[in-house]
């Protein structure tokens, strides 16, 4: 069965500092990979996704992620965080061409920004 691991439950960074959130997956097939962000009390918003091609994908709000097949990782990065980036971040994976298959989510990483 597929699984997603986000090893960092909570990360605190200073405003303006760089950010990297880790995501590792275990999957027996070609995966589609996603990052979502959830502000308190809100739904999940799609930040970016990887299906194929260039392994470095750009998303909204200045985020990017890099797919590394050899490491089974899909880490999320941002060069300079803003206070508004404080939220919970979820990595998710599904089998390619998933149709009605289900996403598998990581348990999330809560990001706190300090001035």
């Amino acid at each position: 069965a597929q699984s997603v691991t986000q090893p960092d439950i909570h990360i605190t960074v200073s405003e303006g500092a760089s950010l990297e959130l880790r995501c590792n997956y275990s999957y027996g097939a070609t995966p589609y990979l996603f990052w979502y962000v959830q502000s308190p009390g809100q739904g999940l918003q799609l930040l970016l996704k990887y299906f194929s091609g260039d392994t470095l994908v750009q998303g909204i709000k200045g985020f990017e992620a890099e797919f590394k097949r050899s490491q089974s990782s899909f880490n999320l990065r941002k060069p300079s965080v803003h206070w508004s980036d404080a939220a919970e971040y979820f990595c998710a994976v599904v089998r390619a061409n998933f149709g009605n298959e289900k996403l598998t989510f990581g348990t999330g990483t809560r990001l706190t920004i300090i001035p």
Binding site: G41, G43, L44, A96, N97, N100, K102, G108
Partner: protein
């Protein structure tokens, strides 16, 4: 463009009372629809998904049920709520291999 709505936004219900949460999608036809629950401090748990009208798949045995009476309407129900049903309920639809989420309903069972 597509939008997804959830109603109500917040709900406080006594134990043993019934529940009905509604999710509607606009701007697309025949979407796959999903209900998730997010308990406090925990990740997302898929409860139900639907690939068409009247077609419901349940992921975990529980006190809840789902129905899809119309193409773009997905309803989550319970006959008698339990304290453990408290949480944040998210509806999602999928298109082009991607799931998009609604704003959620916060349910507090007292």
């Amino acid at each position: 463009s597509q939008t997804i709505h959830q109603w109500p936004a917040t709900l406080v219900q006594p134990v043993g009372s019934p529940l009905s949460l509604e999710c509607t999608v606009e701007g697309t036809s025949n979407p796959n629809l999903y209900w998730y629950r997010q308990a406090a401090g925990r990740g997302l748990q898929l409860l139900f998904y639907s690939v068409g009208i009247g077609q419901i798949s349940s992921e975990v045995p529980q006190n809840l049920s789902a129905s899809r009476p119309q193409d773009r309407q997905f309803i989550l129900s319970s006959k008698k709520l339990l304290l453990s049903d408290s949480g944040f309920y998210l509806c999602a639809w999928s298109g082009q291999e991607t799931q998009y989420f609604g704003p959620g309903t916060r349910l507090l069972v007292l």
